[in-house]
Amino acid sequence: MNSVILTAGTRYLAGLLLIFSLYMLLRGHNEPGGGFIGGLIGSTGFILFAIACGTEDARTALRVPPQTIAMIGLGIALIAGLISIFFADPFFTGQWFFLGSTETEKGLPISTVLIFDIGVYLVVFGSVLTLVFAMEEEI
């Protein structure tokens, strides 16, 4: 798509979408959002990129093949689910660690649940891009 306007706009929109997607991912546990939504939004950023500048550029920008991202995501989600077994809990039991907790505040939560959600994000992100890039390259 050799549209100057679209290319110029994409430059900002794609970045915004990526950042926004990460935001949606991280806050998802407490407000609407989460890995799915985050991953979908993130992928729309790159889809826009692919439409505006072509898949070749988009793939270059992504650096890693999207399939690989998706698979890594699946692996992360799986491992996040299995970690709990080492804590003698059934699998997929959330393990929570609070950074800098005080008496009144729990602190910053780091959890296997979050890691799981990151896996979900990567899967959705990678998979959607795999699909769209492959289709784009067919036409």
Partner: protein, 121 residues
């Protein structure tokens, strides 16, 4: 409102069945989108409807105050939507590839895997 949506779901099902029964598999694809929506809505409605109270816990509370919408069907629908998307995407690509490989979108012209008797013998 549940009853009204039940009717809408019925219409969605009817239209999608009609589309799926078409010879052109592209219509099947459209039908698939419709019927997935119907199924998702069924699941959603089955959890009964609550207007205007999302299943979120306000800051400072430990549980929702008062009734909130049924969260479980929402989670299920969300899962179903995403799965439906995956299946849809594959089906779409399949029809695409079908056209580029077999040169037709008409299901009654797709007779490679199950050839007509008269053409084989």
């Amino acid at each position: 409102m549940e009853s009204l949506l039940a009717i809408a779901i019925g219409v969605l099902v009817a239209t999608s069945v009609y589309l799926m029964l078409a010879r052109n598999v592209l219509r099947f694809i459209f039908g698939l989108v419709l019927i997935s929506n119907a199924a998702n809505l069924t699941l959603f409605v089955a959890g009964r409807l609550t207007a205007g109270i999302p299943p979120l816990i306000k800051k400072g509370e430990i549980a929702p105050v008062g009734p909130v919408a049924n969260a479980l069907p929402q989670a299920l629908v969300l899962t179903a939507i995403v799965i439906g998307f995956g299946l849809f995407a594959f089906a779409l690509v399949l029809m695409f590839r079908t056209y580029t490989t077999l040169g037709t979108l008409y299901s009654d012209e797709m007779r490679v895997a199950e050839p007509r008797e008269d053409t084989v013998i």
